[in-house]
Symmetry: C2
């Protein structure tokens, strides 16, 4: 299997590294940003281009991993070829390829990727969608070489999974950002929160998230809630605190006991 990566962002970088490590041949990397294209090409030792007209047409799989907004324009500018075209986006239906190719696929690794942090793909769930059995087989074959948790998922369910992931990862990380801002103001290092953050994540291996919930909002400790609201000077953080506390309390009331 010969691969071409269209896009050289966080996900493309980590996926390309994992594919390269597993012995897949990467022919070329495309990015409209030369520095990104070059950086990834150097990491996986292949050629790169910033021009779609220079894209090679002899790959078995073209993996599109670009900002969602950019994908339709990019597809419209692609020359046809005989490879499978698959994207890695949670929220884009496979039908985005309609009119461009019949060999359509989706290759969605459910993880948060940063360029500088290598992740263990073996533990990353990969969700596949394909326009035919043959395409499914090719994508499943690649995915299974990378990960132990590969499954098929429709566009509709993947879209919902991506939304859940935004809550579980992106919004969660933003909570860490806000927490670290609060500590910075008092010159307390963020490190003191790490055991708490680790345990909060680890806890739900054993308990449901609803059962794991602790803190003033679940007890509806109004004294603490109103004191803490008063400590927040940023109106947006105050609004978030209020809304999140209400939401936690509401879930606690509705929880089956």
């Amino acid at each position: 299997m010969k691969l071409i990566f269209i896009g050289a962002g966080n996900l493309a970088t980590q996926l390309a590294l994992a594919c390269s490590k597993q012995g897949f041949e990467i022919l070329q990397v495309y990015s409209r940003t030369e520095a990104s294209a070059r950086a990834l090409a150097e990491k996986v030792q292949c050629g790169f281009t910033t021009s779609l007209s220079e894209l090679r047409d002899d790959a078995d799989l073209y993996l599109f991993s670009v900002k969602d907004d950019a994908l339709p324009g990019l597809l419209a500018a692609m020359k046809p070829n005989n490879g499978i075209w698959a994207h890695t986006a949670g929220s884009i239906p496979m039908s985005v390829f309609d009119g461009y190719t019949d060999k359509q696929g989706v290759f969605y690794p459910l993880q948060t990727f940063s360029k500088s942090r290598t992740v263990n793909f073996r533990k990353i769930p990969i969700f596949i969608e394909a326009s035919s059995e043959a395409v499914a087989e090719s994508l499943l074959q690649i995915a299974s070489r990378l990960s132990d948790q590969v499954s098929l998922l429709t566009s509709d369910k993947r879209k919902r999974l991506h939304l859940a992931a935004v809550f579980a990862c992106n919004f969660t990380n933003h909570m860490y950002v806000l927490a670290s801002k609060l500590l910075q103001e008092e010159h307390i290092p963020i490190d003191v929160l790490q055991p708490l953050i680790d345990e909060t994540a680890a806890k739900i291996h054993d308990l449901t998230p609803a059962a794991a919930q602790t803190g003033p909002a679940v007890r509806y400790d109004e004294q603490v809630i109103s004191k803490q609201l008063g400590m927040l000077s940023d109106p947006r953080m105050q609004e978030l605190y209020r809304l999140l506390s209400e939401s936690i309390h509401q879930e606690a009331i509705n929880k089956p006991t």
Copy 2:
């Protein structure tokens, strides 16, 4: 050191278990709920009471671990004694003991506790405050037997730390709750999110939370954001999504590059 636990909730339970394991003698457990008092007393093999008038007066340390709202009333109902009185609450100043005892302290383990999940106290930061050197020494001595990360912290800083912990833990766990609700509606098991949740927490051992941020909001991928908003039927979740995405975007703009 002979200890008495006032309160038998999640924190009291785990702290009493850790103290008992380290060989501290626990004389008695008080809770106004008999089942809770009995359950904890059985775990640490001591007596229990639901009546403050039956509280023994010969302990070296009385550890108050009750809902914040309940503490003032409880203190007003306590008979005086010669032990140290310390509480375990993040948001309550040590001065809550003024007028009741001169031997005041705070013993604040920064962690999320559930009754059914045993935690490793060695890695839990414990923050101590004390009204005198002698009280500080007693509390530091106990804390150091339990944990490798013990430090002194004023009431003002502890209050701020507790607020940060609400974001880093309670609000974070609520994100897990909301994510799992979204998956339940599609009959997708929450387990598929666990590697993502674990990596999100692990990532900030290496990167600052700001550098670790990923997802549609940080890229300000308006197409994804508006599609995802449309998928949320619950108005409160919609409002949370909108507010969190704005907040992430604002942080990304302000971030020093």
